[in-house]
């Protein structure tokens, strides 16, 4: 199975790409403890503030959005029914006119 797959279809390739990605993430995380940065805001002095903020922020974003789906998600044709009504009006009127003559 695995032999005839190439590129990103091969799970091994994906796994390797992800490994490189994890290493970069870890490196960036550690760099925070090595480099002294110019701080403009006191929050920035927290260790790995940006890394934690980015991760937590996105997880919160996705969970909130999933929860929003419960409230806001409708069928794909939700508004189209409305549109059909509007457009349906026209032929029906025209039919009346046809009856007329």
């Amino acid at each position: 199975m695995g032999d005839n797959r190439s590129g990103l279809d091969d799970p091994r390739t994906v796994r390797n790409i992800l490994r490189v990605f994890y290493v970069i993430c870890a490196g960036l995380f550690l760099l925070d403890f090595i480099v002294t940065r110019d701080i403009e805001h006191h929050l920035e002095s927290w260790p790995a503030f940006y890394a934690v903020f980015g991760f937590v922020g996105c997880v919160v974003l996705v969970f909130a959005a999933k929860w929003m789906r419960v409230l806001l998600m409708r069928d794909e044709n939700y508004y189209e029914d409305q549109l059909d009504d509007q457009l349906d009006d026209q032929p029906s009127l025209q039919e009346n006119e046809n009856v007329d003559r």
Partner: protein
């Protein structure tokens, strides 16, 4: 040279006559010359020039040239060039005329030195751009275009009333800092806010942009909202309310973008998010913040255009745009994939890409002026924009699960246009000095220091890590064919439903009239029904007629109120 004497928009308006050229390729090629001519003209325009005219005793100022308007003028010429190149294969004359008039109107609006000229171009923006939506020629696009037109005509009307009140209190129509001193200030802000996509007024954007033709959306994404940003930068710099409006605009659309299925609508939401950064910068109002906002508008025109172009290419080649239908396209569209990723990196503000050099100015300004919570909100929005525009767009279109769709790269014009935009994204990212030197205020700012680069890279990589992790544990919300209701629900569902229930008695009356008619009583109804035999035109004239009537009545009421006060 005579060309310098002409108002800048005229090149485009006259250029619209080029569609009379019968030869398809010659026509497309000659249209490409127009924005080049426009840019040359702008280059030759002497700075601080003002063209004065007198109209009905009012002194008007149809062309005002300064650093701010010139920069937007160049941005619009560039955007027009890229969009025309992208639409090189299009034969539809309606879109070609509409595109040129639309670009010309945007240029006219940013060079307008008085409120009356501005109003004219403000309306022209709406009337020219709606044809890019109607060009799809479906009944759905027709209704959506109509709604777009009504919203924009209303915005223009409010602007006109605000302008008249401004004239009443100041005795002049010169368009400069307005502020929120009088009712005119609020009215003009409301008019601009509608075009800018302020919260509650943003749904025209998320409704119309995904509905236009693939090439039409590229035009749409560049002009209307950026002209509105220009107006804010001109008339409301330092208005504190804008900081909060802008921060709201950066945050709320990202939630909608995460669950939206139509990838062009994801981009429309992400556009509101980007405009939010600009509005916020204008609200902060320091030289650094305004520069950041203007630079971000310039960059956004290019990278948002690039993303819309990539999605337009996908739509053109596959006929699909929903994330749930796409995936695996990198195999057959590798170049488009690469160019889309450049756009995604730019909008996410990766170091060495254009978004980074402009967004970091706004963020720094927010910290410097002590807007702590706003800064945190902007940071959250930055992580969010990477999540939905930076990862989601390329991932669900080109990678994710293989949808089995096999196609090929888009026409050469499209590829070339995307390449131009991608090159600019990288060039501006690597050499920001060129853009910086043309910003309205002199400044000494460098985005590339260790602190900024490291912070932004960490933020983005760990946002990506969150995406990877949520996907691996299968908690990431799948793309589902669906509609998510937003503020538009009020005028697309609630009000029509109420209206329908109110209209029931009238319908009965209507039926009676028809019955009367059937009994053979000659009346003008017969004439009416004969006139209305041209079915599509009848539906057009009745719906738009009602809309125009409403606008005229509202206008009359407001004018009389204005005269009384």
């Amino acid at each position: 040279m005579w060309i310098v004497e002409l108002p800048p928009f005229l090149v485009f308006y006259l250029g619209a006559f080029l569609v009379l050229i019968p030869h398809v390729k010659l026509r497309a090629a000659s249209m490409l010359v127009i924005p080049v001519l426009g840019a040359v003209q702008l280059y030759l325009l002497p700075e601080q020039q003002r063209l004065e005219e007198t109209f009905l005793g009012m002194s008007l100022n149809p062309v005002r040239v300064d650093r701010l308007s010139t920069l937007f003028g160049f941005a619009f010429n560039l955007a027009a060039f890229i969009a025309i190149l992208y639409a090189f294969h299009i034969r539809d004359r309606m879109q070609q005329v509409a595109g040129l008039l639309y670009a010309g109107s945007a240029i006219g609006a940013v060079f307008a030195g008085d409120l009356l000229t501005l109003f004219v171009f403000w309306e022209m923006l709406a009337f020219s751009s709606v044809f890019l939506i109607w060009a799809k020629r479906t009944s759905r696009a027709y209704v959506i275009g109509l709604r777009y037109l009504v919203i924009h005509a209303t915005s223009g009307l409010i602007l006109l009333v605000g302008a008249l009140l401004y004239w009443q209190s100041h005795g002049t129509l010169i368009f400069d800092f307005i502020g929120l001193d009088g009712i005119y200030g609020w009215l003009i802000l409301l008019a601009v806010g509608i075009k800018c996509g302020f919260p509650l007024f943003h749904n025209w954007l998320t409704e119309a942009y995904p509905e236009a033709t693939p090439t039409g959306t590229v035009f749409l994404s560049a002009f209307t909202t950026k002209a509105a940003v220009y107006m804010l930068a001109r008339a409301y710099p330092g208005t504190e309310m804008l900081v909060y409006i802008g921060a709201t605009m950066t945050c709320f659309p990202i939630f909608f973008a995460v669950i939206e299925n139509d990838l062009r609508r994801v981009l429309a939401y992400s556009m509101i998010n980007q405009i939010g950064f600009m509005v916020c910068g204008i609200g902060i109002g320091t030289a650094l913040a305004i520069n950041g906002a203007v630079a971000h508008a310039f960059n956004d025109i290019i990278f948002k255009g690039l993303l819309f172009m990539a999605m337009g290419a996908v739509l053109t080649m596959t006929g699909r745009i929903n994330g749930s239908d796409l995936g695996g396209l990198y195999k057959s569209m590798p170049k488009t994939t690469a160019l889309c990723i450049v756009g995604a990196a730019s909008i996410s503000a990766f170091p060495l890409f254009s978004g980074f050099v402009s967004k970091s100015m706004i963020m720094s300004a927010a910290i410097k002026e002590g807007y702590d919570f706003i800064w945190v909100a902007l940071l959250f929005a930055s992580a969010g924009v990477f999540h939905h525009a930076g990862i989601k767009i390329p991932y669900f279109a080109f990678f994710a699960h293989d949808s089995g769709i096999r196609t090929q790269e888009p026409p050469r014009g499209m590829l070339l246009a995307m390449t131009v935009a991608a090159t600019l994204c990288i060039l501006i990212g690597v050499f920001p000095g060129v853009l910086y030197s043309h910003l309205p205020f002199e400044m000494n700012y460098s985005p590339y220091d260790m602190t900024h680069v490291l912070a932004q890279t960490q933020l983005l990589f760990f946002s990506a890590l969150a995406f990877v992790w949520l996907n691996l544990i299968r908690l990431y919300p799948p793309e589902l064919p669906s509609v998510n209701i937003d503020v538009e629900w009020i005028y697309r569902k609630l009000l029509p439903d109420i209206g329908k229930s109110l209209l029931v008695p009238f319908r009965l009356v209507n039926v009676r009239l028809v019955n009367v008619r059937l009994r053979g009583i000659p009346s003008f109804f017969n004439t009416l029904s004969m006139l209305s035999d041209l079915y599509p035109w009848r539906s057009f004239s009745s719906t738009s007629g009602t809309a125009i009537l409403c606008v005229v009545v509202a206008f009359a009421v407001l004018i009389s109120l204005g005269l009384v006060s």
